[in-house]
């Protein structure tokens, strides 16, 4: 038991460094993914036929194929046509574009659940379509989407682990390296599992607090 403890102690620095990379990767992907997802959703709800077709096609493609395949395609496939990306950028792109597709659907559902009367009242005041969307629909939709968005955030944190497959030095990759150098694969991955557990639990708690803070007084967050 103490032997395991020593092993854990010596592995920790490397694993924590990997955790830092994981969190960085996750943060960039969530940011990009949320923005892109929102744009795709707006395109699907308010856009013309071309925009709608493009958004829908994108979403179907990225939701219908495995994340890992997307990542390998971007990292190994794009160089075939001259686009060479670093593993970190490739991973970010793959994860970001993937989460955007899922988030687009969540945003779309949230936007559509804002009552039509809200838009009508905005128009009646003399607001343009863009004003109505920006000042009236989106503030409400963004609150409605929080549970799904939080769920997606936690999911993405877990899926960031697949970046090890293209060599990004995040948490999972470090665990594997420790395994190769000490042959204590199981122990290494066990510790890693618990680090992930703490990360996901912590994130979930944080998001719960956030959703409480943002709730509109009088309305429960669904």
């Amino acid at each position: 038991m103490t032997d395991f403890f020593h092993f854990a102690q010596s592995s920790l620095p490397s694993l924590l460094a990997g955790t830092a990379v994981t969190l960085q990767l996750w943060a960039w992907c969530m940011l990009g993914g949320t923005i892109l997802g929102l744009l795709l959703a707006l395109g699907r709800v308010y856009g013309n036929r071309i925009v709608y077709a493009f958004s829908t096609g994108y979403i179907e493609l990225f939701r219908g194929t495995p994340m890992l395949v997307q990542m390998l395609f971007i990292y190994f496939g794009l160089p075939n046509i001259g686009i060479q990306l670093s593993s970190l950028v490739a991973a970010s792109m793959a994860l970001g574009m993937n989460t955007a597709a899922y988030q687009a659907e969540y945003f779309r559902a949230a936007i559509r659940s804002v009552k039509a009367g809200q838009m009508e009242a905005a128009y009646a005041l003399g607001m343009s379509k863009i004003q109505a969307i920006f000042y009236i629909v989106l503030p409400q939709a963004l609150r409605i989407v929080i549970p799904s968005w939080s769920n997606e955030a936690v999911l993405l944190l877990k899926y960031s682990s697949i970046a090890f497959a293209i060599g990004v030095p995040e948490l999972m990759a470090r665990a594997q390296i420790i395994g190769y150098t000490t042959f204590r694969f199981f122990d290494a991955f066990l510790i890693t599992a618990f680090i992930y557990l703490m990360l996901t639990t912590g994130l979930a708690q944080l998001l719960d607090i956030l959703s409480e803070k943002l709730a509109i007084p009088g309305q429960e967050v669904r």
Binding site: Q118, A122, A124, L125, Q140, G218, Q219
Partner: protein, 253 residues
Amino acid sequence: MLLLRVEDIHKTYGDLEVLKGVSFTVQKGETKVIIGPSGTGKSTLLRCINRLTPPDKGRVWLEGVEVTHTKSRINKLRAQIGFVFQDFNLFSHLTALDNVRIGLVKVKGLKKDIATKLAMRELERVGLRDKANAYPAQLSGGQQQRVSIARALAMDPKLILFDEPTSALDPELIGEVLTVMISLAKEGMTMVVVSHEMGFARAVADEIIFMEHGVIVEQGPPQQLFVSPKHPRTKEFLQKITELYGKGKEVRT
């Protein structure tokens, strides 16, 4: 002075022709009340006036400016026409004050402090100054509707349209909204109201318009229409209403 002119409005939804050629005018300061059985296009008519629903045929003029023209600056025109919805449609993510203020800031482009002053004045006018920081979900139906009236008033409109403003309210809350509407009418606001509240109509309407099946059947001042209606259908409808609702609650004026 002629404020609103509605000419030959037609509207069809799928197979159903809801409005079959409706025309009327409104002078400045007048209050017109539109009555009639449900589903006869009264709400649709109102929505055609500020083009929330574009009519299939027919035209609308506000003080000589055509609202229904495709080239008209509809947003500017809508800012001059107030609309009060049956379901209030207050912006749920904003406080009462924000609701009243948002049109002033975002549509009229006023500075925040001036807008706040104007907004508070309107909230005061409808008797809800102390609820300025409440959110819609925290207000009763009657309070929400009054805020919605304040929101319309704040824009300093030439005309306010009311789409069955009390139909979604519990009976005991109807009075507070009607009180506000009556004082508005007395202050000279030009209003077109779709309503079932006969007491209210009797008290402040300059003219009653009875609509059925998408056309105006009869119109005239309340004394004439209620006492001696010309058209048999009008008579029938009024009888039915009186049976169901009584002669209309005694409305304090």
